[in-house]
Amino acid sequence: MTATVAAQDRTAPARPRAEADPVDWIGYVFVAFFTVPFLLFNIAPIFFGAYVGFTKWGIFGKPKWVGLQNFTDAFKDEFVAIAFKNTILYGLIIVPCVVVIGFTFALYVNQRWPLSSLARTLFFSPYVVSATVIGLVWVWMFDTQFGLINHYLAYFGIADVPWLTSTNWSLIGVSIASVWWDLGLAFVLFLAALQDVPRDLYEAAEVDGASRWQRLWLVILPQLRPVISLVVTLQMISSLRIFSQVYVMTNGGPASSSSSVIFYMYIEAIFRQHFGYASAVAILLFLMIIVITIVHRLVVRER
């Protein structure tokens, strides 16, 4: 009783005061420290990049407005076509693998069997290291002659797969390393969501005599739909941005077979100094990400 009175006392005068509250002008000072660099180094470059995409911009001389020419050039450029095709392939390989394997690992750790916290640590650990680490260690493991992977595959009668040195395999090799790297985030997001599934839901299903699989399909998965959708969106965007693994592992090769859009943008900007063209390619990727995200949202809402 006294507690409620005290609580009322505290809230009662706060109400009317809140409405007539004067503006906290100091708030602008508080946000300025973050907002000024944010506008300068993040928002301004977006608009500046949109402008650069419509110009011919080399390292010397003045930029020249060329209208849509960069974009029409990009549509005719076969290397842009290859880069976009590869980037979509990366997404189609990496996203399902990360979602399915990450979810399986999360289900396993969520059983809380002995040593499950060790398993959690190991599953997540690749996520915290740099692309250089991922790239170099996998280049070594994928070595055709002396690499670990081919050594153990030989026991199954699979001989000398040229993981990173043939046009047929390089994209798959880079994708495998990327799954190992990226999985940690999906894994912890799934794990957190699984731990939030109310216990009594499991118990009710058990009482009804549902099997393990039925429980998974009918009880748990419907609960997890929002987090699955979130993981798919995040992973899709990060896979379509793929760059550093490609740079370290294959440099886009052999013969552009593992090149990606951002990798091609990097080559155009740094080696050819076609800054306008590079920006146009980046804008095209951004448009593709927006379209894919919207389509994904619509599909999720449909169901």
């Binding site: 180094f41 170099l136 260690v137």
Partner: protein, 293 residues
């Protein structure tokens, strides 16, 4: 007979949450978890081998003769010490500034009332839709124009824009009781004093989470440092070590992988240690924020 044995085993396993039927699943899962970490073991093992012992027909998980020669060589023949310093300096400064600025902004967005506050938060969140990769080329042009190319300012300015810290502090202050701050306000303390002496010290959990996560992103940052500097002496560790990749430099083709593995061991140890000791903050921070770079 068999049935009663099974029952006995099940009783033994029960305290661990296991049954005879789930025992294989448990073991297979553990085996996969150990396999998942094998690339790290292989990395460290190779880094301790003499270059001549690296390319072997049989896999040798333990070096037949261990040596620290590769580490010595990496430090003496390459500016790895300098790259290490650059990485530490850039990551520490940009993380520190990003966290303090982010905490102030997060606090203001949660606690103070001023026009445009919701729009600002919307702008921060909406900017996550635009991949940083889109902004790097125009930002590079701007950096060159103002003479910042190859400088620490260039390396530090871009990671100041990570929205993650604003988000996590705003989230914290929205759900944190404001009694203490109200009491201080009654005593006539200024907003700045309240934030710095009362609110910020209370926000320990988001402070640690944001620090370890943002530091890790900064330590691993790749594309921007690759573009923003080109002098060997200005490179950060990930960009410098990347030159050990066979497709980029020739060193590995000549000497094998032991040098490169020593390089990436040096590169991965700081963030791996940070993660092992502050795992809880890492995982909670990421699953409540769900943001990358």
């Amino acid at each position: 007979m068999a049935a009663s044995l099974a029952r006995r085993i099940n009783r033994r396993l029960q305290p661990f949450g296991l049954r005879l039927a789930t025992l294989p699943v448990w073991l297979i899962g553990l085996a996969i978890a150990l396999m998942w970490a094998m690339p790290f073991v292989w990395m460290i093992s190779t880094s301790l081998k003499f270059p001549a012992d690296v390319m072997t027909v049989d896999v040798e998980w333990l070096p037949r003769r261990a040596t620290l020669e590769n580490y010595a060589k990496v430090f003496t023949e390459y500016p790895v010490a300098r790259w290490f310093f650059n990485s530490i300096f850039v990551a520490a400064v940009s993380t520190g500034l990003n966290i303090v600025f982010g905490a102030m902004a997060g606090y203001a967005l949660a606690r103070l009332r001023f026009p445009g506050r919701n729009f600002l938060f919307f702008l921060f969140i909406a900017s996550l839709m635009v991949p940083t990769e889109i902004t790097v080329v125009p930002l590079l042009l701007a950096i060159i124009k103002i003479g910042w190319w190859n400088s620490y300012q260039a390396l530090i300015c871009q990671p100041l824009t990570y929205v993650y810290s604003v988000y996590i502090f705003r989230q914290f202050f929205l759900s944190f009781p404001r009694d203490l701050e109200d009491a201080a306000k009654m005593d006539g303390a200024s907003h700045f004093l309240i934030f710095w002496r009362i609110a910020f010290p209370l926000a320990r959990a988001p402070l640690i989470a944001a620090t370890v996560i943002v530091f890790t992103f900064n330590w691993n940052n790749f594309l921007w440092p690759l573009l923003a500097v080109s002098d060997e002496s200005m490179k950060t560790l990930p960009v410098g070590i990347a030159a050990f990749a066979p497709v980029i430099g020739t060193r590995t083709q000549l000497e094998g992988f032991s040098l490169g593995m020593a390089g990436i061991t040096i590169l991965s140890v700081p963030t791996l240690l940070l993660f092992f000791f502050l795992q809880r903050y890492f995982i909670q921070g990421l699953s409540s924020g769900a943001v990358r770079g």
